[in-house]
Symmetry: C2
Subunit: 236 residues, 2 copies
């Protein structure tokens, strides 16, 4: 099994920079062919903890598990998350997105505003027709992150969006439309956009905070103490 080899390499406690045994040696040690060894090393390379140089060898680049960040929770078989876990992810999102909105207000360029406008228009249409606009909701928040002109922030938001799609679904569901959730979310989005377009950093921060707090409430979460970070007023 390739899995076995990966675990062995991970457990070998090789320090970054250390050279792995040659493929030939690993073949003998595990009694498998070079193809299996190479595929296992491919996975380690994808994880970022091994780098290879042709003619030289394979070297440890980072400790396993530290090359990437994953949102954990549930299991591969039962991926549903506990409310507590959703709340924790939302809190992480709160820290990033409120700050990102403020930065976006300072740095946004015209093309960023265009992206936001496009997403807003589409959500408005979905609002009128009762359709699903989760993808556009994602796109709006990614556009805000992109407006910070910080690629790392945009990538992080893109990453988070996948995990948040499921949490956005209720808002845009038929029930969400009837409950007025979609309309409420749209109003919050408009406020965020307005502040960013106006270059109002603290306003954008507050608008993003309000949006996240209300979005959490729509999911039945209790975001009472998130505001500790910046004493945001949470009007009921």
């Amino acid at each position: 099994m390739a899995r076995q080899l990966e675990e062995w390499i991970s457990s070998e406690r090789l320090e970054p920079g250390a050279q792995l045994p040659t493929e030939r040696v690993l073949c003998e040690r595990f009694g498998v062919s070079r193809a299996v060894i190479r595929e296992a090393i491919s996975r380690l390379k994808a994880d970022g903890c091994v780098r290879t140089r042709q003619g030289s060898g394979a070297y440890v680049a980072a400790l396993p598990g530290q090359g990437s960040f994953r949102i954990v929770g549930g299991t591969p078989d039962a991926p549903e998350r506990l409310p507590r876990e959703v709340s924790d992810v939302f809190e992480l999102r709160y820290l990033i997105e409120t700050g990102a909105a403020a930065l976006a207000a300072v740095r946004r360029e015209e093309q960023d505003l265009d992206r936001m406008r496009l997403a807003l228009v589409r959500m408005r249409e979905a609002l009128a027709s009762g359709a699903d606009a989760v993808a556009d909701d994602d796109a709006f928040h990614v556009a805000v992150a992109a407006a910070t002109r910080n690629p790392q922030l945009e990538r992080f938001q893109l990453f988070m969006a996948r995990h948040l799609s499921e949490s956005r679904a209720p808002t845009w569901s038929p029930a969400g439309h009837l409950e007025g959730w979609a309309e409420q979310a749209q109003d919050e989005h408009e406020r965020i956009f307005g502040a960013i377009a106006a270059g109002d950093a603290s306003g954008a921060h507050a608008a993003a905070a309000a949006h996240l707090v209300r979005a959490a409430r729509r999911l039945g979460l209790d975001p009472q103490r998130w505001g500790a970070a910046d004493n945001v007023e949470i009007e009921q």
Copy 2:
């Protein structure tokens, strides 16, 4: 190139559950052997966005980038980062850590304070002996994140520590000791701890912000506009 294939598969916008072309087909399409195709697929499997079933085929399990987040920068061949990229990462860190410090001030328990004290004591010893304390520096920041009682935040900080170790190295280098950087960093850490221990959320936020701004300056970065997120006063 295997890289090319991965990008093609990623760009093909296959929906989760969709079946990939067979290995044989991909071989013809890219003019490479099965070994190359299989290694590329191995990496996609490691990324979690492809799953294979023997005798059946390969299927898209998730969208690329969904499974994990990693800090990008440089190239696999030249992993050194540009100042701009380091600055971007610092900005992301700024958003997370200042908020985390504030939350930690509200939620910290005695055991969290103990972890921070331990790291502080070790850094104090390193300060006296002129030794390296990058690991303890990491440990302190992870302890702060742990004090938020939010596992996702702690995991994120643990993940970031890997990328930040290199940026902390100058502070604890012999030159850093001579320049007074280590002493300065230690003072900043003490302030953060003091605010968290006192349960002062806004004070912890400000102390963390000041630490990050100064740390960035020690690296020769320009953190002038980070404070847009919360109007932090940056005294020169």
